[in-house]
């Protein structure tokens, strides 16, 4: 079964089209990264998936219509969002009690185990915790829920690198088990690069690239060439070209490795490199700078 299935998903806020008819299919056991510049429609897509906003088009999450069946759906779907703030007056112990009270799939023991690994005190109020600790607490609550789909919207925004690394490490080691599905959006692409199984670029409400990570890694190659080799390299039609320290770096899509190897140094580009190339080419201008 597909965990998420969308056909022609559309959402407009007044005259501003946030989602321009996107098709989406996420299978069970995938970790999908939804990457896009600010205002590209990532959060709108996630909010639609979570049943927080009405939308046009077809959308099924775990076989349900999220807008009409939000509260049933949320037994199987969890989310952490940069803007889904834990109430500041809540005590850690009260947060655990509350989630245990309302959530049929919450395992208190698991949450306690996760929290024991942190320096969060049971008696602290959320307002007394640092931003990193609040995220740890939220993650502990969510990971203790036996959900089928976890949606993360900029979960590590504003956290330092140690917390960010820890966040994804615990997610992979203590939570992800191949029957669960995770959808994550983030600007810190390098953090999730080795976590994802699938990748989607979204720009101006449209999906401009959708691929599994295996496909992605075999499809894109980055070539660093010296000026002498440049015309030959350009003849192979790179999708993007940039200059770094007097050398040209060309990004190729679907060109056999042997052909390129003779022209310079080859490496697998990062998601960020391809993102800049794809978004930059689809809309020349200032886009793609913020990753």
């Amino acid at each position: 079964m597909n965990v998420i299935e969308a056909k022609g998903l559309r959402k407009a806020f007044g005259s501003n089209i946030a989602l321009d008819g996107i098709d989406l299919r996420v299978e069970e056991g995938r970790i999908l990264g939804l990457i896009g510049p600010n205002g590209a429609g990532k959060s709108t897509a996630l909010n639609a998936i979570l049943g927080l906003i009405p939308y046009q088009g077809e959308l099924r999450v775990l076989g349900r219509d999220p807008w009409a069946e939000r509260d049933q759906l949320l037994r199987d779907v969890c989310f952490i969002s940069d803007v889904a703030i834990l109430p500041r007056w809540l005590r850690v112990s009260q947060a655990i009690d509350y989630v245990a009270g309302v959530h049929p799939r919450f395992d208190r023991g698991k949450a306690e185990t996760f929290l024991a690994k942190t320096s969060i005190l049971r008696t602290s109020k959320v307002r007394q915790l640092s931003k990193g600790m609040v995220t740890q607490l939220h993650l502990a609550l969510v990971m203790a829920i036996d959900a089928k789909l976890l949606v993360l919207d900029e979960p590590t925004l504003g956290l330092d690198i140690l917390y960010r690394k820890q966040f994804y490490d615990s997610l992979l080691n203590d939570y992800f088990d191949r029957t669960r599905t995770i959808v994550v959006t983030t600007h810190q692409v390098e953090d999730v690069e080795h976590v994802l199984t699938d990748l989607m670029f979204i720009h101006r409400g449209r999906i401009v690239l959708s691929s599994s990570m295996e496909e992605f890694e075999s499809r894109y190659l980055e070539l660093t060439v010296l000026p002498a080799q440049l015309p030959a390299a350009r003849a192979l039609k790179p999708m993007h070209e940039r200059q770094v320290l007097g050398r040209s770096i060309l990004l190729f899509s679907n060109i056999p490795r042997e052909k390129l190897a003779a022209l310079g140094d080859l490496r697998t580009p990062s998601i960020a490199d391809v993102f800049v190339a794809v978004i930059g080419s689809s809309a020349p201008g200032s886009q793609g700078a913020r990753l």
């Binding site: 909010n47 927080l52 906003i53 939000r70 509260d71 949320l74 803007v83 309302v102 029957t179």
Partner: protein, 308 residues
């Protein structure tokens, strides 16, 4: 389609078995959440009760003297002299609960949007209907019950202290106990809380919750200004004040007939209450219909309001 329950119980039957939730549990925990967030719900009436008990020590100091001076009065006047602190305590605690109800209701659905915690609450499998019902149950159920319980406790303490003072002076407690008619008066208080605070004021609290769900800022102004504007408009355009007297009826407990059906404060043992006539009053049912409409609108608003 894969039913959600088919895989999970196999995976960890031991873990999920104790977590079977009754359908009422989300409601129960939503109410508890309100009590955790708004501690004034119980702190304010308790604080009033504390102040009352403190003030009552002055009454206690003069109690022996009072008992001797009123012994010559007729029973009705005796009661009047003795019951006053008890009436004041009931009135103050009820008043505190009423004020807390107003401030609570106006903030209930606005506060969670203002501090942006609404997305956390919405990430839990609790429906908007359950949430709104839990919130309206605070002014409609929790606060009246709490006010009653605190009043009973306060008056019981007052009675025990009074008795101890009288016994210490070698006086009889019989007049005090018989003239107060405490069980009967407390029953009337309960009746008044149910008829007036739960049923008659229901549309009023529901309106505050609706504004609380709707207003982007300054919910208090939005709760007050539209009715005020309608009243002013009516008086200018039609030189009448039907709307204002309608609201006045609602606030002051309706026309004299209805308010006496609900029991006028302060209560006295001879008061005649008429629950049948109260339940037959159209004003009650029209009010409850409005309350239901306001609440339905509040549920819809909470569902439709897009996360900012």
């Amino acid at each position: 389609m894969n039913p959600p329950s088919s895989i999970v119980p196999e995976l960890n039957e031991r873990d999920t078995a104790p977590f079977k939730l009754l359908p009422t549990r989300p409601f129960y925990w939503s109410v508890r959440r309100e009590l955790l967030e708004h501690r004034s719900i119980y702190v304010a009436p308790l604080a009033f009760a504390g102040v009352i008990l403190l003030g009552f020590t002055f009454v206690l100091a003069r109690l022996a003297h009072t008992m001797q001076t009123i012994s010559s009065l007729d029973p009705a006047h005796q009661r009047e002299a003795l019951a006053q602190p008890y009436d004041v305590s009931a009135g103050l605690i009820m008043g505190a609960a009423f004020i807390v109800s107003i401030f609570y209701s106006i903030d209930a659905l606005y506060g969670e949007r203002r501090d942006r915690s609404i997305l956390f609450w919405k990430s839990m499998p609790v429906s908007d209907l359950t949430t709104v019902l839990a919130k309206v149950s605070i002014p409609l159920l929790v606060l009246p019950i709490l006010a009653f319980a605190i009043t009973v406790t306060t008056q019981a303490i007052m009675l025990v202290l009074s008795s101890m003072v009288l016994l210490a002076h070698g006086l009889s407690v019989a007049t005090l106990w018989t003239q107060l008619h405490l069980p009967l008066v407390l029953l009337m208080l309960l009746y008044h809380l149910v008829t007036a605070h739960m049923l008659w004021y229901a549309p009023f609290y529901a309106w505050l919750l609706l504004v609380s769900a709707w207003a982007r800022r300054a919910p208090f102004l939005w709760a007050v200004l539209p009715p005020l504007a309608i009243g002013i408009f009516e008086s200018i355009a039609f030189h009448s004040s039907n709307f204002v007297s309608l609201l006045d009826d609602r606030f002051s407990g309706g026309s004299d007939a209805i308010s006496s059906m609900m029991g006028n404060f302060p209560f006295h043992p001879g008061m005649r209450l008429d629950p049948v006539a109260f339940l037959a009053a159209p004003g009650l049912w029209i009010g409850l219909i409005f309350a239901a409409l306001f609440l339905a609108a509040a549920v819809r608003l909470r569902h439709y309001r897009e996360p900012s």
